[in-house]
């Protein structure tokens, strides 16, 4: 494997030295480009109290292209599909090389606080979120309890 770019080394150091509240990101022992991520469900959201596992991978041309991020823990959210893929502009066309792992994870945390059913990835969830928000929130809480609380 090619030598790790300075940017990734420094970014990882800073991430460990000054962690973001509610988020932990630890590089894999055998692959420094692969991160094990845990995001805690934000307060006052249906995901409160849950611990959500994600995987984050820095591709070869990072930071020119965005990291690949995916939820591993099942989650009921209009912008996250069954496979855990996330609909977030900065992971696609709005990516800038000046963004970092830190900013990406903060944006994902913010997405949990403010779901956006108008730009859905999971259509059935988004639909319910729009027509019956109360029931959607009940589902999200139920999924959080079932999948994100027993670890």
């Amino acid at each position: 494997m090619a030598a790790l770019p300075r940017r990734i080394i420094k970014e990882t150091q800073r991430l460990l030295q000054e962690p973001v509240p509610g988020i932990s990101a630890v590089p894999d022992d055998s692959n420094a480009r692969y991160f094990h991520v845990i995001v805690t469900g934000p307060e006052d959201s249906p995901f409160e109290g849950g611990l959500f596992k994600l995987e984050l991978f820095l591709p070869e041309d990072y930071p020119m292209s965005a990291p690949k991020v995916r939820f591993i823990t099942k989650i009921y959210h209009p912008n996250i599909d069954r496979l855990g893929r996330i609909c977030l502009d900065i992971l696609k066309d709005k990516w800038s090389p000046a963004l970092q792992i830190r900013t990406v994870l903060l944006s994902i945390q913010a997405l949990l606080s403010a779901p956006n059913p108008d730009d859905p990835l999971a259509n059935d969830v988004a639909e319910l979120w729009k027509v019956n928000e109360a029931e959607a929130i009940r589902n999200a809480k139920e999924w959080t309890r079932r999948y994100a609380m027993d670890n």
């Binding site: 770019p5 300075r6 940017r7 420094k10 970014e11 041309d61 930071p63 020119m64 292209s65 900065i90 709005k94 800038s96 090389p97 000046a98 963004l99 900013t103």
Partner: protein, 498 residues
Amino acid sequence: MNSDDYDDSGNETSGDDVDFGIEVEAGSTREVQSIDDDYPYEVLSTDDIVQHMIDCIKDVNTVVQIPATTTRILLNYFNWDKEKLMERFYDGNQDELFQEAHVINPYKRYTIVAKPKMSRKVLGTEECEICFMVLPPSQMTGLECGHRFCYQCWNEYLTTKIMEEGVGQTIACAAHNCPILVDDQTAMRLLKDPRVRLKYQHLITNSFVECNRLLRWCPSPDCSYAIKVSYVDARPVACRCGHTFCFACGENWHDPVRCSLLKKWIKKCDDDSETSNWIAANTKECPRCNATIEKDGGCNHMVCKNQNCKADFCWVCLGPWEPHGSSWYNCNRYDEDEAKAARDAQERSRSALQRYLFYCNRYMNHMQSLKFEHKLYAAVKDKMEEMQQHNMSWIEVQFLKKAVDILCQCRQTLMYTYVFAYYLRKNNQSVIFEENQKDLERATELLSEYLERDITQENLVDIKQKVQDKYRYCDSRRKCLLVHVHEGYEKDWWEYTD
């Protein structure tokens, strides 16, 4: 370039310095041409296109005093419509204009600049937010928005955008959420690899041509010329590579059918590619002995290659050729009576398909024949040489080439008459149109047959007279048909199905 040039904005330009890094030959030969006398156009090479782009920018800059690079971004935003840009510039809110076009207002350039981030560690240095290197300010650069990154990161960022994403004109600043666009001079200054620089220039010229209503690339594969007109119209234009096409839609010149109907037809043919493929198949079976016959010329008069059969038949309808040679020729016309009988016997959809196949078959047939055009030109060239050996002068044998030219024009016109006819609703004028089409089809097949086989058997003076008579007749029938259709457009005769 010494380090003094790496100053803070890194983006100054004098108003008329529009060096684009491409060598433009001075006084290149651009001449105005036209096929229709009243539709002038120019053929532009890549250099001409760049020069034209520079001229457009200079034009604007004689009136509006802003940097040329800013002008280019603004012009691109207005699809290179100078008048629109001027109008907005003088009538509207200028701040809003610059903001919409994602460029810093050059009149206010030093007021909105973001502060460079000084490093926490070493005084007088900056940290590049992309590679995290701590560098002296001379190794950092940015746009007028003030977001600064090191030269190497800029180079990598632009290279990714250009090579991976194919973006040229609309690369934004590398900072997150900063919409300010990278101008071409900055890009050329920051890019190192000549391959990337070349691709960038291609992208820029391409977007110039594509957004400019008065320019169109020649659609011929591997051709890099563009056509420039002074107003958009559905008219034929001929590229320097020899390809003639419709300026409005880019398809082969398609008189008498109009662009919109042709587009509909092409879409239909694509959707029905299964049936079209079947129709376009190059082989058919002899109607008498079932031997496989391949069409190898443009003429519809087929003679079975099986020496024991030698049946004469028509490629289009597979009927015997004999009636086609007389006034009974009835092969270009969809027989309404037969269609009705077919409708009785078969389902509706089946008959619609057959109607479509009828027109498609004839359309494809002429297209196929046109593809053999080069073969015919070669054969005719041989004949011309042969005639020159029989004491005819070069100028005297040109009639043969002229005959092939006219034959090809007729086939092209005929091909598109079937598209027109497919959508045409029957009325008195459409009957006249079909008569004209029938006449032209017949005359064209006669000319084609004559050129392909009859020419060697007679004496040369007779041949010349006969060929000239035939092509003049074809030409006059073709013009007659076109005039009639155009008159119909003016007088609203044509009614269309669906």
